[in-house]
Amino acid sequence: MADVTKAEKFTYRDAVAEGIAREMRRDPSVVCLGEDIGAAEGVFKTTVGLFKEFGPGRVWDTPISEQAIVGAAMGAAMTGMRPVAEIMFSDFLACCWDYLANEIPKARYMTGGQVTVPLVVRTANGGGLGFGAQHSQAVENWAFTVPGLKIVAPSTPADVVGLMSAAIRSDDPVVFFEHKALLAGSGPRPPEGHLIELGQAAVAREGTDVTVVALASTVPLSLKAADQLAGEGISVEVIDLRCLIPLDMRTVLRSLERTSRLVVVEENPYQGGWGGTVVSVVADEGFELLDAPIKRVAGANVPLPFADSLEAEVIPTVDKVTEAIRRLSAY
């Protein structure tokens, strides 16, 4: 419980475990599986305390078998459980991609609604920690290519808890991206019962000149950019999408009614990145709201390099975002 008398540090990392634990306490059908999530409490320490509180009957260590992890979660979800499966690094989703591309999102549809698959696949996503090309990718756009998956990518500890509750309670399959560069960040611990409906964007900062649409790691980045630009007299509105599916385009379009300028900041690659879909909806339905071209600040179309200085070249940075906003503002 929150203790207001003590300045508690509640990290994004703590929030993952807390969000899962809250649902495990209220619903005995919630079970966890994954590599090193039990006694070892997760390589990112995002399952700390779960094994101790709920025991080996509800927190299951698996072999390094991504297909078995996600496939078993699917079978369990179809038969009365609400599994929460961890794929250690989101890059490894490629090892079990069949389940996320062909099996889980299609089971309900292709059986004419006979089955549901209420599961969560959690995974550590994104760069900024210097893990190189196979452990640093932002791959939320992979999931975004597949109709039938809900996609969550929170930016704050409170949102992690509220969205984790909604994801676990969802009767639909959810891919939950936990951003590695945000794990150490902290924020207020939300009250018990905190629940954020999937598909509701948050206005992280209000502004009148330019709308910045961001997700996960690019939210704090965009907020920093907005802070800097406030000193230059540019008022930036930052929208945290929080989910890619359902995609809250209403909030984006409403913001553009005021600002008429749009920057999308996404860590996944420009080629095939989710921003392309956001932009295409705006071009289609919000064309007359715009007073300037749309800018996308996205990952470069190269594999992630190892060195920090090289990585900064190819993923969004505060400087890249401020530069894009300045140019739009001056248009």
Binding site: T79, Y109, G112, G113, Q114, V115
Partner: protein, 325 residues
């Protein structure tokens, strides 16, 4: 199996055979589009296994899965209507031949990515274990699936977690068009792998419904007692080619002849006669199956096409397809 149980099993096998023949004929006449993978010849595996299961047990099958849907209670009319893209089909014409499902009877789907459903069956068994329900799960798969990673990951997980699951390989000697022995390092593609996962395995005559039934009953009992998974390699043979209009010319004539003489219907009929069931009783079951399938064909042909709006239902659990605000 009692004579009555065997007679019922025989009747179900005849019904499946007739339905598969109808599916073939309807495909050749253009009334079934896409593809079919017919299970004529494999009937004893599905019926023998199903007869050893509880109604609430779970079954996962492959794109060659008409026999498994029917063995779990799907009717010829529901199946043929699905194949013919009719609204009355098992999956509202949204699945097709490769995805027959009868979830109300524990038949949780037919999956068309080779091997993908073995981990799912392990997961359903894990769920049964977690809930203490005493249920078991079965994954039926072809010999070709034994060379894909999901097979090995599922077997290991099932063994490590001691899950109540049976892995049943329908070894029909051909992965598709290539003999399984030409692409597999061991002679028995499923059973020879079991030792690597410390799992008991049996190689059985998959064309003898009694043998399949007894083997499955033993494996299910082990599973329900908490003694873990079993692998069963049921040797059988396709009466048709791999899919569609494949004439299966890659199979040697003497091999085909040998297996056709070991037809699962003949094996069951001989067993019935040996038990003293009168030939007229058996012939009556044959006639009833023929009449049922004829009526199913007529009903499916007369059934309506799905409403266009159905394309946008059941992406999500709320029944809809909304992806944005």
């Amino acid at each position: 199996m009692t004579p009555e149980e065997l007679l019922d099993a025989y009747s179900e096998m005849v019904l499946i055979r007739r339905t598969e023949k109808a599916a073939h004929d309807l495909f050749m006449s253009g009334l079934v589009k896409g593809t079919t993978h017919l299970a004529a010849g494999h009937e004893a595996v599905a019926v023998g296994a199903s007869s050893a299961l509880r109604p609430d047990d779970y079954v996962f099958a492959t794109y060659r899965g008409h026999h498994h849907a029917m063995a779990r209670g799907a009717t010829p009319e529901e199946c043929l209507a699905e194949l013919m893209s009719r609204a009355t089909g098992l999956c509202q014409a949204k699945g097709g031949s490769m995805h027959l499902t009868k979830a109300t009877n524990g038949m949780l789907g037919s999956y068309a990515i080779v091997g993908a459903h073995l981990p799912m069956a392990a997961g359903a068994a894990w769920s049964a274990k977690l809930r203490g329900s005493g249920q078991v799960a079965v994954a039926f798969f072809g010999d070709g699936a034994t060379n894909i990673g999901a097979f090995h990951e599922a077997l290991n997980l099932a063994a490590v977690w001691s899950l109540p699951v049976m892995f049943v390989c329908e070894n029909n000697l051909y992965m598709e068009y290539t003999p399984i022995e030409a692409v597999t390092a061991v002679p028995n593609p499923a059973a020879d792998r079991a030792a690597g996962y410390n799992m008991p395995a049996e190689i059985i005559d998959g064309n003898d419904v009694v043998v399949v039934h007894e083997t499955m009953a033993r494996a299910a009992e082990r599973a329900r007692k908490g003694e873990g998974p079993t692998l069963i390699e049921a040797q059988t043979y396709r009466h048709f080619g791999h899919s569609r209009a494949d004439p299966a010319k890659y199979r040697p004539a003497d091999e085909v002849e040998r297996w056709m003489k070991h037809d699962p219907l003949d094996v069951a009929r001989a067993r019935l006669e040996a038990l003293g069931v009168p030939p007229e009783t058996i012939a009556d079951r044959d006639r009833r199956a023929a009449a049922t399938v004829d009526a199913a064909i007529a009903a499916a042909k007369n059934a309506p096409e799905p409403e266009p709006a159905l394309a946008f239902t059941d992406v999500w659990a709320d029944g809809g397809a909304a992806w944005r605000t």
